[in-house]
């Protein structure tokens, strides 16, 4: 093939799109449909708990759109980072939904599942052999950190996906994969050069975000030996050189280079040219193959259990002294928890946030004007859920009635719900930002189901 057309319907499976945009991509000659199913963007919970951010109905709706379109055209569908975090449970969750959709539509497609979850004991062997390296800003990895994770995944490159496609998969449901690998796999398998392929993959990873109307559906990238063109699937939307070039900046720490498992995309000399008023041509993208193939690890662990309480203040007398009031609240919560529960400061933690005052930016907040109303959130973290809730319950009378130091009566604040405490369950943090030196397929397992006579 001297040209491969990659259809990217959206930035995330489950986000939804107008099915007509996918049909238009098929009519334009799409050779493959690729879509990202996950991210770390929404925090460590989804990996730590192996739970998806999206709802099953939305995933089913989107898969139905893709499977019917792809089956009609005889082209493969590739989904990356299934179930938000790409854990094995996430892959199986999407595979279960996919099987239902295929059955309902009477489609017989060969489905490959690629598992990317990692075993701490095996990773410790890599660590012991000096094959694990930190990425900034993290430092050297301790074996105990691996053991503390509830789930660890490795972000695959294109190779396991290519392996599944070569074995005849018509639907590839991948665990954690780089955002770009899902779009890069098919054109790389067809022999197109890595520079244009990886650059096109980066530009399409968020669907229509590189267009002037990101809500109007996805994009189609046509990759050839010298570069690629990109156009929106909605005929009323447009790609412009600036919008396409600017997407290289999105969610990247470095706007010129992007590391993949087998090398680095380099767009320093890329040129963006308008083909017409809605199609852009990109040339000059390079890819430098690395001496050592590496897989990036993501891992999350429990930091404790959280309970939240929320009240609100409208009284101008309290709002006039809100910082002093909050300082008093912090001091009294600490004192009452010590008196009542016998807990020292290091045995639990809480954060008091004044929404409407400076909750979002905290001490970075540049504005100083008086607030009109303030939501007071108390977030408690403790080693177990009953302790977190007990701390929030001890704080409750203060959340209801605490006066400022200059008031000589008890105000009553506005709780929006009863009960006042919301148990949030386990809280997590990301603790891995490390790579493992390994062979491209070494950390991943591929399994097939459905049609077996490929």
């Amino acid at each position: 093939m001297d040209k491969v057309r990659v259809l990217a319907p959206s930035g995330m499976l489950g986000a939804g799109w107008d099915h007509a945009t996918v049909e238009r991509g098929i009519a334009l000659g799409a050779d493959v449909i690729s879509i990202d199913g996950g991210s770390t963007d929404s925090g460590p919970y989804y990996l730590g708990a192996a739970t998806a951010k999206t709802t099953a109905k939305a995933v089913a709706r989107d898969l139905r759109s893709l499977f019917t379109a792809a089956a009609g055209a005889g082209i493969p569908v590739i989904v990356g980072s299934c179930g938000t975090s790409g854990t094995d449970a996430g892959v199986d969750w999407v595979a279960g939904i996919a099987a239902e959709v295929l059955a309902e539509e009477g489609l017989d497609l060969k489905v490959a599942r690629i598992y990317s979850e990692q075993d701490a004991a095996e990773l410790k062997e890599h660590l012991g052999a000096g094959r694990v390296h930190p990425l900034p800003p993290l430092g050297e990895l301790a074996a105990e950190t691996l053991e503390s994770c509830t789930h660890i995944v490795g972000a695959m490159g294109h190779e396991p996906i290519v392996e599944a496609l070569r074995a005849g998969a018509q639907v590839v449901l991948a665990g954690r994969a780089t955002d770009t690998a899902v779009a890069a796999a098919y054109p790389l398998m067809k022999g197109l050069p890595a520079g244009p392929v990886w650059h096109a993959a980066k530009i399409v990873e968020c669907g229509g975000q590189c267009t002037d109307n990101p809500r109007a559906g996805g994009v189609l990238a046509t990759i050839d030996a010298d570069g690629f063109t990109i156009e929106p699937l909605d005929p009323d939307a447009a790609c412009t050189p600036i919008l396409v070039a600017a997407h290289m900046l999105y969610e990247t720490a470095n706007p010129f280079e992007m590391r993949e498992p087998d090398g680095t995309l380099d767009v320093r000399e890329a040129e963006y040219t308008a083909v017409d008023d809605r199609v852009v041509r990109v040339t000059g993208s390079k890819f430098h193959v690395a001496d050592q193939h590496t897989i990036k690890l993501e891992g999350a662990r429990v930091t404790g259990y959280e309970t939240m309480s929320f009240s609100a203040i409208r009284d101008p007398l309290v709002l006039a002294d809100i910082d002093e009031w909050a300082a008093l609240m912090r001091a009294l919560i600490t004192q009452r928890v010590s008196q009542t529960l016998g807990l020292a400061a290091g045995e639990y933690a809480f954060d008091l946030r004044l929404y409407g005052h400076n909750a979002v930016l905290g001490e970075l907040e540049p504005e100083t004007g008086p607030p009109r109303e303030v939501g007071v959130m108390l977030l408690v973290n403790a080693p177990d859920q009953p302790t977190a809730t007990a701390v929030a319950k001890v704080a409750n009378p203060l959340m209801l009635h605490l006066p400022t130091p200059s008031m000589d009566y008890l105000p009553s604040f506005a709780f929006p719900s009863s009960p006042a405490e919301v148990e949030r369950g386990a809280a997590y943090e990301f603790v891995l930002n490390h790579v493992v030196d390994c062979a491209p397929l070494e950390l991943f397992r591929i399994e097939f189901e459905g049609k077996t006579h490929a």
Binding site: T40, S42, L249
Partner: protein
């Protein structure tokens, strides 16, 4: 006359996570004149960002991209994503102190 901020000269100022451990921000300036202001190292540099965001000056990366009229700034996330002290999971609102920085008269 009211003071002019970077936001006044920009089409968009945005911030976002770049993975779980980095924050990145972009100033999309309206034109080459605005870009010259934002890209001026005597005005906007690592030291200024360090004081606005309470981060280590040496951990900050600043990328000046004249072809796009863009200045991009990246630094390690000062508060662990999703932790008790993290009030901005996607780092989507952290552009504001940068956006309201007053430009030299």
């Amino acid at each position: 006359m009211p003071e002019t901020t970077l936001a006044d000269l920009a089409h968009e100022v945005r911030s976002k996570n770049a993975g779980p451990f980095w924050v990145t921000m972009e100033l999309f300036m309206r034109d080459a004149d605005g870009y010259r202001v934002a890209a001026d190292e005597t005005f906007l540099n690592e030291r200024v960002i360090a004081s606005l965001y309470h981060v280590d000056e040496h951990s900050i990366g600043i990328f000046r991209i004249p072809s796009l009229n863009v200045v991009k700034i990246s630094f390690p996330r000062p508060v662990s994503q999703g932790s008790l002290r993290d009030r901005d999971m996607h780092a989507g609102q952290h552009h504001v102190p940068l956006a309201r920085l007053v430009v030299p008269a």
